[in-house]
């Protein structure tokens, strides 16, 4: 059972039974616990906290860890940052307690059992948490219940005990938690997004909302990160600009590059057309920018003159970027050969600027210029069972076959995962013929199945040559 502020004022508490609470306050309104909604709300809060630090981890059902190493100076200190965080949360009716410490364990303890907005001085975890109850150590239930019975109420009392006996009596987890709180054991946090140093932030004195301003600040933010990338001789392939609205909504806008880049002007051009999806509402107060897929990039590359001496890829990259960012990654491709004789699998789609594939299509196996996604059924008349048809009807129009070439027999790839017994039997063998009709149109048709089997073979058209 959880209670809100009003209920607490009426004398209700978390451990009460619902029936008792109803007796105390007959007009009580109760809701069932919705764990999924809680989780979603916490995730939304987690995403919002990115404005304070890129490294945010969800803790249990009701907590967040923010790794603020190196970001507190943006607020003018840890204290100011903490006050700002809690004040903003309070403004939206999210009651929260927060604390800052060297270790996640100590911060967890201080936020829940210490003074509100406590800040443990660097290397002073021991003094900061020694006065807290043992429950602040995130112990297992059994240990947490057992310790007070033995008169061990405060964390500080545990420091004095011999570790070996502590571990033996209350489990290894107890000493581990103690060490984690004091920074003697490492603790891994699962950040919602991978921590990356390629993060920058731009805050505004006055919230902005005009489209031109959004475009300008996107450019400014990208320029910030691109400067850093250039200074370190790196480039990135994916960029994300996040617009944080006054009410906590965040609008991410992404741009991808086909090759490593750090040209803020070009990135801005890719971002700006997507800004219409950003609804500024009452105003944008913070813009954050991230770079991913950061790799070393030689400085000479962007000094080359665009007019001469550049390779084809260099001049094509901006076009590919524009198209990919506008249409989506799966709509721009280069068709590369793939080692398969099944026609629809002989092509693999690669990014246009990837290094070319080593495989080649077989020039002796003619393939149509247009290949249908799914073959269309035709009715065909053949003189002999194994002959190409003399006539076939496709889309209601009869075609008399003048010449034919074939067959080319293509079976299914039985060795491939997902191809079952029923896909590879004699009924699935295709005999392809290249036929020309009396006006010269060339078709790629096939007969599926063999004569003499239980199922009569069927004719299909799979593509057109000319």
């Amino acid at each position: 059972m959880a209670v809100d502020e009003t209920a607490r004022a009426l004398g209700l508490s978390v451990d009460q039974k619902a029936a008792d609470a109803m007796a105390l306050v007959p007009s009580l309104v109760t809701f069932d616990h919705d764990a999924a909604a809680d989780r979603m709300a916490l995730e939304a809060l987690c995403d919002w906290c990115v404005r304070f630090s890129p490294a945010v981890a969800i803790d249990g059902t009701d907590g967040l860890f923010l790794d603020i190493s190196g970001t507190d100076h943006l607020w003018g200190g840890e204290g100011e940052m903490l006050v700002d965080l809690v004040a903003r949360l309070a403004r939206w009716g999210v009651p929260a307690r927060a604390a800052i410490a060297d270790t996640p364990g100590a911060a967890w303890a201080l936020a829940r059992y210490g003074d509100d907005l406590a800040i443990a001085a660097p290397d002073q975890q021991r003094t900061a948490i020694e006065g807290l109850p043992v429950a602040a150590l995130r112990l297992e239930d059994a240990a947490e219940a057992q310790l007070p019975r033995l008169g061990l109420h405060r964390v500080g009392q545990l420091f004095a005990l011999p570790r070996a006996q502590l571990a033996k009596r209350f489990g290894l987890a107890t000493t581990l938690r103690l060490d984690q709180a004091l920074g003697m054991a490492a603790e891994a946090l699962t950040f919602r997004r991978p921590a990356s140093p390629w993060f920058d932030r731009l805050a505004f004195f006055e919230p902005i909302s005009a489209p031109d301003d959004l475009a300008r600040v996107a450019g400014d933010a990208l320029a910030l990160i691109c400067q850093r990338l250039e200074a370190e001789g790196r480039g990135a392939k994916r960029f994300e600009v996040v617009f944080h609205r006054l009410d906590g909504q965040a609008y991410p806008v992404r741009a991808g590059l086909a090759r490593l880049g750090r040209d803020a002007g070009r990135l801005t051009k890719l971002i700006v057309p997507k800004l219409d999806k950003v609804d500024p509402g009452f105003g944008i107060e913070v813009v954050t920018v991230h770079a991913w897929a950061v790799e070393p990039l030689a400085a000479a590359q962007d000094r080359l003159d665009a007019q001469a001496g550049t390779s084809l890829d260099e001049t094509l990259a901006p076009l590919v970027d524009r198209l990919v960012n506008r249409l989506g990654e799966n709509r721009v491709w280069r068709a590369d050969p793939y080692e398969s004789h099944v026609p629809e699998r002989s092509v693999i789609r690669n990014a246009p600027l990837d290094p070319p594939a080593a495989a080649r299509w077989d020039p002796d196996r003619p393939r149509p210029v247009r290949l249908f996604k799914r073959p269309e059924a035709i009715t065909a008349i053949a003189k002999l069972p194994d002959d190409p048809p003399m006539q076939f009807t496709w889309r209601g129009r009869p075609h008399r076959v003048r010449r034919a070439e074939g067959p080319e027999r293509i079976g299914q790839e039985w060795w491939r995962a997902g191809v079952g017994e029923e896909d590879t039997g004699p009924g699935k063998i295709r005999d392809y013929y290249r036929v020309e009709d009396d006006v010269g149109g060339r078709f790629w048709i096939y007969r599926q199945g063999l004569f003499g089997e239980a199922e009569a073979p069927k004719w299909w058209i799979h593509g057109l040559f000319s």
Binding site: L327, P343, E436
Partner: protein, 260 residues
């Protein structure tokens, strides 16, 4: 009097040509390699800084196989100098088929768009990009404004633009045919044509097309039967089989020939 009139007309034509050309040097052209065809164009070939319309005959208006093969072959000499962008709403263009025509597919960028307007704007974007030597768009006839924009994009970098007229799947026959982009340099109509048996009488010979040049700015119209030239045989992708003064299609030979 008549002579001076002719001379004045010639002088005026020269002035107009000079105005049209502006300060540009004469654009490079893509020749067919046969004087019977190249003579129809003012510059001895299709100019690179312009765009051309290619339509199909009959059923081809929707499937657009013969026009696609024709365009693939036409662009074969260009592919050495840069990338080729092929923009379409459908993704039934099969790269191994183009490869079979001698067109190296590793310089081909395929783009799938969502609608007609997007096709044209991507085409425009591609044509005005350095490094793109030609761009093909499968669309219905673009209107005059779109055609003019394409022309400007082509002129920017000397790109070779092709609009492959293609009806959307299941679209009405004849719809959209009414508008013809007169901003295009030329308009072609491509259809298949029966091929004679190959020399060894096995299988199918090289493909042939019935190619009609319906309109050409500053040139003459014409109709020919062209055959694919194998990649090793000279720089030009087509071989002229016969000139069609009228409807003298190559003699048809009925009868099915079998290949074992």
């Amino acid at each position: 009097m008549a002579g001076s009139r002719e001379a004045r007309l010639a002088a005026l034509r020269g002035q107009i040509a000079a105005i049209e050309a502006g300060t540009r040097t004469p654009t490079p052209v893509l020749p067919f390699g046969d004087p019977a065809i190249d003579g129809c164009f003012p510059g001895g070939g299709l100019p690179l800084g312009g765009w051309h319309e290619v339509t199909g005959a009959g059923l081809e208006a929707e499937t657009s196989a013969a026009p696609a093969a024709f365009v693939g072959l036409l662009l074969r000499p260009l592919v050495k100098t840069g990338a080729i962008v092929w923009v379409a709403r459908r993704s039934d263009l099969f790269a191994p088929g183009l490869f079979g025509l001698g067109f190296p597919a590793d310089r081909l960028i395929q783009v799938r768009t969502r609608d007609e307007a997007e096709t044209l704007s991507v085409l425009e974007d591609a044509l005005s990009t350095q490094g793109v030597v030609a761009a093909v768009g499968e669309a219905e006839a673009p209107d005059l404004t779109a055609g003019r924009r394409l022309q400007l994009a082509c002129e920017k970098r000397g790109g070779f633009g092709v609009v492959l007229h293609r009806r959307p799947y299941g679209g009405r026959a004849g719809a959209g045919r009414a508008v013809s982009g007169s901003a295009s340099f030329s308009r072609w109509r491509i259809g298949p044509t029966p091929t004679p048996p190959p020399a060894d009488d096995i299988g199918l010979g090289p493909p042939r097309w019935r190619v009609e040049l319906e309109r050409c700015r500053g040139g003459r119209a014409g109709a020919w039967i062209l055959e694919q030239q194998e990649a090793g045989h000279g720089p030009h992708p087509f071989r002229l089989v016969s000139q069609l003064a009228d409807h003298d299609v190559a003699p048809t030979e009925p009868g099915l020939r079998l290949v074992g």
